[in-house]
């Protein structure tokens, strides 16, 4: 009897598939834990778009650069105000404060085997300025431009070089900027050998590696994996483990499962609930560090109601900081009402505001809107931002302010914010380098409030015209005495707390959970100071 192909296939297929599955599953070895010489980190790094230190600016790329590229100086993670020489053996500052001279350590090598000399250092810094990508401003703010950088940054000997700034800035400011990724040292010979059309190796370095750090980049598959390997040519203590693999895992719950099962050694993006649940697990520990990132929401001064001073202040009394601090941001943030994150020179720890609906109502009445008003807020649909916004919506309602939430994706809301078409925007700002000017530059400076301004700091995005405060910020960055400088920043923060259209909410705490056999993990205050090469496994 002829059986149609169909009937056999249909019925047989299911049975065959299932039995094949069962057979193979039975043959599986139980390879649950990660290999001994490999560190597996579960991390959401879909923000990486380039591996060129002259271009990279996002958080995840920052961490990779921090582990794979060296620079002239680094700061001590335990005490960021202390700097030590990474590639530099010693440095001096001229009396007029404008010339910095560096002497490099001898015998340095790149991972490629090429020697690392002052020529590479000069090339790297000049390259960053010449390419003029996003993070170049960290260097160009010292007066470097395409025309003068070859004269301002000069090699003076095989292992010596000088850097000449246009003004006499606070030395700590200049040196801290040199710890940033944009000032990472790249292999001149290797990079130029891959140059196309005079691009200084830009197209090649986007997805490749030319550094000298303790770990070297083996492969980057976007949104999938970043594989790092120990660099045996590194001048200092070699990396403890042979390999460090970052796995892109977006979902916090998935990260947690990986950690619990041992398929990841370190996970980085857990939520407060996950952290609370893992507290009972004996095999898992956590470590946390205050980050240089502050969260806020800001009131667009183009909106006439929001421009009133009393209304601005009223908003600051309409956030339940304490409740948010104890629930929504527990373990991942600390209430902080200033624009300088704790850890930066001059950061204030005054947090005068708390939830006080009556006071807010009184202020609104004084402002002429006793019955409240309607306003919109652009919110990113991520936690804890969404939770905080919804909580704020409720407390604002008690004073009669009707807040309509306009949800959107990250880039979506950012586009609107930068176009100044928002009412209220809830956002965050992370330090680009470890100096107070990084935040003062954006919160307290607005040189030009016009629509077509050349620079668009956060103050500009909220149309906050502040000529006086701008002058103060400009003066503070040139002040060379640390004590005086601190006082200036404290004064600025006091003024800011009272008058700004920014309602500062909290400072981020970065938390990592790891298996108990992992040692030496310390999260740095900036993205590029989390050193995986110091981590080992028992």
């Amino acid at each position: 009897m002829k059986h149609s192909l169909f009937s056999i296939t249909r019925r047989g297929l299911g049975a065959a598939a299932i039995s094949m599955l069962l057979a193979t599953l039975g043959a599986l070895p139980a390879l649950a834990a990660t290999p001994k010489d490999t560190l597996v980190v579960a991390f959401a790094f879909d923000d990486i778009i380039t591996m060129d230190p002259a271009e990279a600016f996002e958080i995840s790329a920052g961490e990779i650069m921090g582990n794979t590229y060296d620079r002239l100086v680094r700061f001590d993670v335990a005490d960021p105000s202390k700097l030590y020489g990474d590639l530099a053996k010693a440095w001096t500052v001229s009396p007029d404060g404008k010339t910095f001279s560096f002497e490099l350590k001898p015998g340095l090598k790149f991972a490629s085997g090429n020697a690392l000399t002052a020529e590479d250092v000069v090339f790297s810094l000049q390259r960053a300025v010449l390419l003029d990508k996003t993070p170049a401003f960290i260097l160009t703010q010292f007066g470097f431009s395409k025309d003068n950088v070859k004269d301002r940054i000069k090699q003076t000997g095989p292992l010596t070089l000088t850097i000449e700034t246009d003004k006499s800035f606070a030395p700590s400011f200049v040196l801290n900027c040199l710890t940033a990724n944009v000032a990472a040292i790249v292999d001149k010979k290797l990079v130029l050998s891959k140059e196309q059309n005079g691009d200084l190796g830009y197209a090649w370095l986007k997805t490749n590696y030319a550094g000298s750090g303790p770990l070297k980049l083996r492969e980057w598959r976007a949104n999938e994996i970043v594989a790092l390997e120990r660099n045996d040519s590194y001048y200092g203590d070699k990396a403890k483990l042979a390999r460090v693999i970052y796995r892109h895992v977006k979902e916090a719950a998935t990260q947690r499962l990986l950690l619990e099962k041992g398929d990841a050694d370190i996970v980085r993006n857990l939520t407060p609930q996950d952290l609370a649940a893992l507290a009972a697990n004996k095999d898992i520990r956590t470590t946390s560090t205050p980050k240089g990132t502050v969260y806020y929401f800001s009131l667009n001064q183009k909106n006439p109601t929001l421009a009133k001073a009393e209304v601005r202040e009223a908003f600051k009394w309409l956030v339940d900081y304490a409740a948010i601090g104890d629930t929504l941001i527990k373990n991942i943030g600390v209430v902080h009402q200033n624009f300088l994150p704790v850890g930066l020179l001059g950061a204030s720890t005054e947090n005068p505001y708390k939830l006080d609906v009556e006071k807010a109502k009184a202020l609104l009445a004084k402002a002429g809107v006793p019955n409240g008003f309607k306003v919109t807020i652009d919110m990113r649909t991520v936690q804890p931002v969404q939770g905080i916004t919804e909580a704020f919506q409720q407390t604002a309602k008690r004073a009669g302010i009707d807040v309509e939430i306009l949800p959107g994706d990250g880039k979506q809301t950012l586009t609107k914010y930068r176009a100044r078409t928002h009412d209220i925007y809830i956002g965050q700002w992370g330090a680009d380098y470890w100096d107070p000017h990084t935040n003062a530059d954006t919160f307290a400076r607005n040189p030009d409030n016009a629509d077509d301004a050349k620079s668009k700091p956060l103050a500009w995005r909220n149309s906050w015209a502040i000529p006086e405060l701008t002058k103060k910020a400009d003066a503070a960055v040139l002040e060379r005495d640390p004590a005086k400088r601190r006082a200036m920043y404290e004064e600025m923060q006091a003024d800011f707390r009272k008058n700004s259209p920014f309602v500062m909410l909290y400072q981020q705490t970065e938390v990592a959970a790891f298996r108990s056999d992992v040692e030496g993990l310390k999260l740095g205050p900036t993205s590029d100071s989390t050193y995986m090469f110091k981590v080992s496994k028992k």
Binding site: L13, A17, K250
Partner: protein
């Protein structure tokens, strides 16, 4: 002469479809409220960098001109570079699509392989307990959020029981030993004879594929039931019974065969839907597939990547729909006669 006319007209229609898809996606993409320059330069970039990059991307040109430039490049095989990965778009897709393909194919095999028999059973035992159980089981798979099912499945089968591999396509150990050729891990490991790696890849595939299979099973089983009920009510079934044919033969050889005609459409639609990639499944299982790629590109207005992925997805739908139309001719002699007569 007639054949080349038909083929020519056919190709023209396909070409116009692609063009239409590209045009619609392109123009809508240019009006979405996300600044594509943002993804490239980030939030910190000075104004002059932004203006320079905007110029470099050609975003200041009029829309029609931009579209024309894009289409001409495509016709030369250049699908542009993704701003997010700095790789040519087709290279990215060649990396992400196999992941989705493997998952979707295994998923539809499970979904159709289990769903069709279940649907037939439910139709034959209409109104009975089997019918209701199949209905409820199917509905659970279709109406419960897939991220919930996925996470629960991971918790039970991976974390607690340890029966299957976890999120990700393969264990980290194999990262250094496996050289991907096609990107289909099952195929690559089998060809290389790496049976341990094969087993490992399979163990990682099982859970998400079963999930997708379960999800499509609901729909396929319901539609099978519906089509089978249509068929079983036809006169030829009564006639066949009167002739003395066995019930099994009637159901499987005759009724199902006729029900396959519209059922093929259903299965093809399901498969194409799975091939599109599910962002939620890929997020939960850390699966680097097309769904994540497309969504991430869209959220950053990386239009080259979006358009490239759309072309691929479009090809899948067009291809599968044409295939199912072709299968009609094979399966249904009436349709065959119709098209021959035309």
């Amino acid at each position: 002469m007639r054949a080349s006319n038909v083929i020519g007209r056919f190709l023209l229609v396909i070409l116009l479809t692609y063009l239409g898809l590209l045009a619609v996606t392109f123009f809508i993409g240019r009006v979405i409220p996300i600044d594509p320059v943002l993804a490239i330069v980030g939030d910190r970039a000075p104004e002059h960098v932004i203006l320079r990059v905007r110029e470099e991307l050609g975003l200041n040109k009029p829309l029609w001109e931009q579209f024309y430039i894009y289409v001409s490049k495509v016709l030369h095989g250049d699908f542009g570079t993704s701003v997010l990965t700095s790789n040519p778009v087709m290279q990215d897709i060649r990396r992400t699509f196999p992941a989705t393909f493997e998952l979707a194919t295994l998923g539809i095999v499970i979904g159709a392989g289990v769903g069709v028999p279940l649907g037939v059973w439910a139709a034959v035992r209409r109104g009975g307990l089997v019918d209701q159980i199949v209905r409820v089981m199917g509905l659970i798979g279709y109406s419960v959020p897939i991220f919930w099912l996925g996470l629960m499945a991971l918790v039970v089968f991976y974390a607690r029981l340890g029966w299957v591999g976890g999120p990700g396509r393969i264990d980290v150990v194999y990262e250094y030993t496996l050289v991907p050729v096609t990107g289909l891990l099952l195929l690559d490991t089998a060809r290389a004879g790496e049976w341990q790696a094969f087993g490992n890849a399979l163990s990682h595939l099982v859970l998400p594929a079963s999930l997708l299979g379960y999800f499509s099973l609901a729909y396929i089983s319901r539609m099978t039931r519906s089509f089978m009920l249509n068929e079983l009510a036809q006169e030829y079934v009564i006639a066949a019974r009167a002739k003395g044919l066995s019930e099994t033969r009637i159901i499987w050889r005759h009724a199902l065969r006729n029900a396959m005609v519209p059922l093929v459409t259903v299965i093809a639609l399901s498969y194409a839907g799975l091939l599109e990639g599910s962002v939620l499944t890929e997020t939960v299982f850390a699966w680097p597939g097309l769904g994540l790629y497309l969504t991430n590109s869209l959220q950053n207005a990386d239009m080259n990547a979006v358009l490239g992925a759309t072309i691929v997805v479009g090809s899948i739908f067009i291809g599968l729909n044409l295939l199912s139309d072709l299968l009609y001719n094979v399966l249904d002699p009436r349709t065959r006669a119709m098209t021959q007569a035309q």
